[in-house]
Amino acid sequence: MKIIACIKQVPDSEAKVKAENGQITWGEAPLVINPFDEYAVEGALQQKEALGGTVAAVCIGPESAKEALKHALAMGSDQAILISDPALSILDTAGAARVLAAAVKKIGDADMVVFGRQTLDDGTGLTAAQTARALGWPMLGLAGQIKVDGGSVQIERVTEEGRQSLKGKLPAVLSVVQSIGEPRYPSFMGIRKASKAEIPVWTLADLGIAAPETVVKRLEIVTPPARETVVEIIGGETPAQIAEQLADKVLAEKVL
């Protein structure tokens, strides 16, 4: 099994993200591997353990994104590749998919390319299916379980309507959700190995493609209007009294 996991680096959930002069800032908050992509790496490693083979983590991003790749290495990935090029600073998901598809071809002989469900920053959840389209491979989305059987892969797809079993031929593109299981913590050995790893950087020239056109363009960033909520604590002698008052308050809000 040759597996590729696609990961992105994003500001941590706890970060106070703000718009300043049309730029997005998050102060000193750390950048982390996109939490959904930890599940992707976990899913990839599970398959490597079950079937043998290798996992390569791939990220499009600036030099600093090597830290996210090191996390994937520390979790147990065998290889990490950063794709970085000044021409990629403004990229929409279709563009990212074209670049990732080129990287998958350059790596060669992949059986499976695994994605997270979506990113925390732009959060479109489009890139996996767009990479599948660019490669012409089947898309098996929202996998909560993965089972490879000969030349096919079968997933349990987790959606609002419950689970369904979906099957397609390898090579295939998958996206992974939380039901795959908690991402493993990097081991001490893993962290040591990752800290010493040389991560190659590929440019567009290395991939042999031109910068993709950007179709989706950001015009403006807006800070959402602040919500001033002051909590009103409902007290009372008995639960029945509290409930009585609370129900009246809620009914007065006219939301029922």
């Binding site: 089947p138 098996l140 959606t159 403006e220 960033i221 009103e232 029945a240 509290i242």
Partner: protein, 337 residues
Amino acid sequence: MKTLVYIDHFKGEIQPASWEALGLGKSLGSVSAIVFGKGLDAIIKAAFEHGAEEVYAADDAALEDFRVEVYASTLSALASSTNPNLILFPMTARTRELTAMTAMDLNSGVLTDVTGLEANGDKVIATRPIYEGKLLEKVTCSAPIQLVTIRGRAFPKPAQEPVKTGKVNKVEVKSEALTTVEGYSASEVAVNLGDAGIIVTGGRGVSNNPSLTPPDGLDEKQAEIWRAQQGFALVTDLAGVLGGAVGASRAAVDGGYITYAHQVGQTGKVVSPDLYIACGVSGAIQHLVGMRNAKVIVAINKDPEAPIFKVARYGVVGDLFQVVPALTEAFKKKLGK
């Protein structure tokens, strides 16, 4: 503006945000509906009743199960031949993948999970939350056929006109499916949190009722799940009286108390109901990003310091095992149920 609206459904069960998309399309100009699947008469009828001028229908056995490759090829061919300015979709797991692939075929892009839309000639400017709703961005799509998915409950529903009908255009299926659906789990009911106007959520606190005695023969973990299920029964009763859906924190899902489809938050679902009642939920940031846009938030938690109270409009500091059933009774009485 010429708009097509994709009506998303699962085995004939229509995603309500499809009608919100249809209403939005109508407010922008001419609007026709797109319906894919097998056995579509009821959906086509409903599309006319909600304001579609025409319907494009691909009724074919190859489309019985949603398989994204064949759906996307069929949609791309339809878009190329009809040339709309805009295709609107309700945001669902299916339309995420469908729009993604269709955009690749059309050399276009998708404005995803949109909560606001303005028209500027034949172009749209969409507003969408980014960074887990901490910011909003305004985005455009420079391609001639713009694709937009809208978040449920962000746009008003159009009124229904019972007798309206119109022209149905038959759409041919293009290409082959690359996957097969081998089966659906029957045990899970659809949990449509995105469209719910009222959500009652249980957190880890629902397992914390020491005065309940689990049946004999359960190990510690089984006893915890048994306790949690008693707790969730109370949450479900309250949701039932209010006509709402049941949500869960990740701790509740990871604890095995309830399925992942119920999870609200960063790795679950982002919801925006009118009323959100959080029972035994601490209010970790990863939970808050999923629900803080609810109109009215009620928190029931025995810890007065729990961060959930920072986003709540009303709070009760108390034991959910006492407060929740009392609240269910109070609403029953006041709503005449």
